[in-house]
């Protein structure tokens, strides 16, 4: 490959690239807005999915002042509110609500239940489930069981201590004081245990090394970079007519000199695009910026630029070229979780996504957010590239043959 030929092709492709640049930039802004909106709705829906409480009717047949205070206290607990939206109703209203699908179930507290709990009498509450919402029913059953066990824990805890204290002559005199203190202690433990006993850690997003928001942001960024191939499709494939390709071949332009500038300009555009978006994102996310992470990110961009440009060249001349390219990019986004969140996909579909170029690029670029890159991603991406190089060279040869020259 002669330097003069390469610089000539660089100049020629540079002119074609610049001719499409402003149109591509405008489309990129539009697509970036769309990708941003999609990112927002996806993240919001995941949050809504995980926080949507179940609608439950609460029937207080006791109706006493103390019971009302107790129920208001329970309803206002943050933990309870995130599991169930509780509405206090009467029995008939609860039944009608369940039949109409307004409530997934109802909890009925019997008359005098509070007093019975306090003195240790046997008392039955009632839980009604709707057979129309089976998942909710199983969840309400679990909530009811948890409430039941909490009450019994308190009842038995107090009773076991109280009976031991009252049966021992040495401790009988402290009985009243003990009862007061153990009730206080157990009430305090029951109301604060959820926050004090447990340390919570949010794990990485399903089948990804990154947390949810970071995974989605990086995926959208790389998807947008891939989609930019569509905006340069005309300029990248402008030379691929039999006559023009043959003339270029006759003037000494080989396959490498033909392909390299196109890949280079695509890489430059992606670097500019991703660089500016990452600059904006740096206000919201903490990046791990080390020479290695930057190098891996650039490698991911370069390999994906090469792959997408070669794919566009392979499809050049096809009457559905842009449609097929769009399908491929959307398919990659789908399997990587960009169209539907990853956790909606079954495991084999997620595995496919990891081995498609977008998934591999994502893995290579993820150290930017502090995750580990899989070294195999680089190997897989190179294999994709080699096979596509072979196809693109064959396509070039065929076009040259049509124009009467071998390349």
């Amino acid at each position: 490959m002669k330097f003069r030929t390469l610089s000539g092709m660089l100049y020629r492709d540079g002119k074609l690239f610049l001719a499409s640049f402003w149109r591509a930039l405008l489309l990129c802004v539009l697509f970036a807005l769309l990708c941003g909106a999609l990112l927002y709705t996806t993240l919001a829906s995941v949050r809504e999915d995980t926080e949507t409480p179940i609608a439950v009717a609460l029937v207080d047949e006791d109706g006493s002042f103390v019971s009302q205070i107790a129920l208001t206290f329970i309803r206002n607990q943050k933990d309870v509110a995130s599991v169930a939206t509780v509405k206090i109703t009467d029995y008939d209203e609860a039944l009608i609500g369940i039949k109409n699908g307004d409530f997934s179930g109802a909890v009925i507290l019997p008359e005098n239940y509070l007093n019975a709990i306090m003195v240790g009498d046997f008392v039955h509450g009632k839980v009604l489930f709707s057979d129309g919402t089976l998942v909710d029913a199983s969840l309400i059953r679990r909530v009811a069981r948890t409430g039941e066990r909490l009450i019994r824990m308190g009842q038995y805890g107090v009773f076991a201590g109280a009976s031991a204290v009252s049966s021992n002559p040495e401790t009988r005199e402290i009985y009243d004081l003990y009862l007061l203190k153990i009730n206080d202690a157990l009430m305090y433990e029951a109301s604060t245990a959820n926050n004090r006993y447990i340390t919570e850690e949010i794990t990485a997003y399903s089948s990804s090394a990154l947390p949810l928001a970071e995974h989605m942001v990086l995926l959208m960024l790389l998807s947008l970079a891939s989609l930019s191939t569509l905006f340069f499709y005309r300029s990248a494939t402008a030379d691929l007519t039999p006559a023009l390709t043959s003339r270029l071949r006759a003037s000494g332009v080989g396959a490498t000199a033909f392909l390299l500038p196109k890949i280079l300009y695509s890489f430059l555009f992606r670097t500019l695009l991703c660089g500016s978006i990452l600059l904006v994102l740096s206000h919201f996310f903490a990046f791990t910026l080390s020479p290695l992470t930057i190098l891996l990110f650039l490698a991911a961009l370069l390999l994906s630029s090469a792959f997408d440009t070669l794919l566009a060249l392979c499809l050049a001349g096809n009457r559905f070229g842009i449609a097929l390219l769009s399908f491929f990019f959307l398919l990659q986004m789908f399997f990587a979780g960009g169209i539907l969140p990853l956790h909606y996909l079954i495991l084999p579909l997620r595995a496919i996504g990891r081995y498609l170029p977008l998934g591999l690029t994502l893995s290579l670029a993820s150290p930017l957010f502090g995750a580990k890159a899989l070294p195999l991603s680089l190997v897989w991406l190179t294999l994709w590239l080699i096979s596509l190089c072979f196809l693109a060279t064959r396509r070039l040869k065929n076009i040259c043959k049509e124009g009467g020259k071998e390349i």
């Binding site: 539009l30 769309l34 919001a44 809504e48 995980t50 609608a55 933990d79 995130s82 599991v83 039944l95 369940i98 039949k99 307004d102 019975a116 709990i117 039955h124 509450g125 489930f129 709707s130 057979d131 129309g132 919402t133 029913a137 969840l139 059953r141 948890t146 066990r149 909490l150 009450i151 019994r152 824990m153 009842q155 805890g157 009773f159 076991a160 201590g161 021992n168 040495e170 402290i174 003990y178 203190k181 202690a185 245990a193 959820n194 006993y197 447990i198 340390t199 850690e201 949010i202 794990t203 399903s206 569509l230 070229g321 449609a323 769009s326 169209i339 969140p341 956790h343 909606y344 079954i346």
Partner: protein, 366 residues
């Protein structure tokens, strides 16, 4: 009739058939998601230590559906794969902490960012911890009130006895007949959205035919109007008929595989929106003058559909102006046809000949 037969022959070799097959796969896959939506969330745990109280607590958790994992890594892997939503890691000294009633920060709770109702699992774990430690809360109180009395064993024994045989508070459970909540499920919404996008793709790709070099050559030979009437319109008609035929197959298969009948209610709306979108497909070549410009619509239409149609969140609650944009999307017409099939049916039947006339007029240069 001859033109129609010729168009049928060409269709077998062209893309719409492949697309219809793709539609089949997507609709079926999409309707399968609705089955996933009814699976209740699950959780797991890892116990790094053991003991009498710890083992009893873990046994109760297992009875409630918590799965046991041997190591922290396997638990994390299961959460990562989506097999379980959450997991708890109990420390090696849990037994000591229960028996000394010192449970502050005793459990590490791993939670997937997409877990449904993780609070419920936390409450269950906390309840079981409290249940195990309940008798031991008396001990520090008694140490202060009666330092010389040792009631530890007696309290624990009585507590265990009550736990096994006691008659404390109980909820009786009863299942009654009720309706599901009045909302379209995610699975069906997803299937309907996928369906509408692919219904849109058929006429969109069909309209690219007008920009093909062979077609342009034919136009030059026999005239624009003649080419339109003898080649393009018969092909568009055959493509529409194939779509309608495939819908009759796809929707019942999708409904059958996902074990539900709701999706069958989308058959008539799908028919109506297929006709409406075929009419739109005839108008598109008037608006766009290049095949690549028409094909470029695929990505933004799909992304806009995902953003604006209430598949994930109802964005019009946040931005009411988004409702106006929704009119441009194929999914809107499918949902509108579900709401008012008669009105949209009449509009669709009128739109098809009208768009055909518009195209003929545009092509004949009038």
């Amino acid at each position: 009739m001859t033109f129609l037969l010729l168009a049928c022959k060409r269709l077998f070799r062209s893309l719409p058939l492949l697309l219809t097959l793709l539609l089949l796969v997507l609709t079926v896959t999409a309707s399968l998601y609705s089955d996933r939506a009814i699976a209740p969330p699950t959780a797991g745990y890892v116990a790094l230590g053991g003991g009498e109280e710890t083992d009893a607590m873990l046994k109760r958790l297992s009875e409630y559906g918590f799965s046991r994992y041997e190591t922290e890594d396997t638990l994390r892997e299961a959460i990562g794969k989506g097999e379980i939503d959450c997991g708890a890691i109990f420390p090696a000294d849990l037994e000591t902490r229960i028996t000394t009633a010192d449970l502050e920060n005793s459990v590490l709770f791993l939670c997937s960012p997409t877990a449904s109702l993780p609070v419920l699992f936390r409450l269950e774990i906390v309840t079981e911890l409290l249940s195990s430690a309940s008798p031991y809360f008396s001990l520090p109180i008694l140490e202060v009130l009666a330092p010389n009395a040792d009631l530890r064993e007696e309290i624990v024994e009585r507590y265990q006895y009550e736990l096994q045989n006691g008659s404390g508070f109980v909820f009786d459970v009863e299942t009654i007949s009720g309706n599901p909540p009045k909302e379209t499920g995610f699975g069906i919404s997803l299937a309907a959205t996928a369906l509408s996008v692919f219904l849109f793709l058929m006429p969109l790709l069909q309209s690219c035919r007008l920009f093909q070099s062979q077609y342009l050559a034919l136009e030059r030979r026999i005239g624009k109007k003649n080419a339109l009437v003898t080649v393009f319109l018969p092909e568009a008609l055959v493509s529409l008929l194939t779509t309608l035929l495939m819908l009759c197959l796809i929707l019942p298969i999708g409904a059958n595989l996902s074990g539900q009948t709701e999706i069958m209610g989308w058959l008539l709306p799908a028919f109506i929106s297929a006709i409406l979108l075929a009419a739109l497909g005839l108008v598109l070549p008037i608006l766009f003058r290049r095949a690549d410009a028409v094909q470029m619509l695929i990505v933004p239409i799909l992304l806009l559909t995902l953003v604006l149609c209430p598949l994930f969140i109802n964005i019009s609650l946040l931005f009411p102006t988004a409702d106006a944009l929704r009119l441009l999307l194929p999914t809107y017409w499918l949902f509108a046809a579900k709401e008012a099939p008669l009105l949209l049916g009449i509009i669709a039947l009128g739109a098809l000949p009208l768009s055909t006339c518009l195209l003929i007029l545009a092509k004949s240069g009038k």
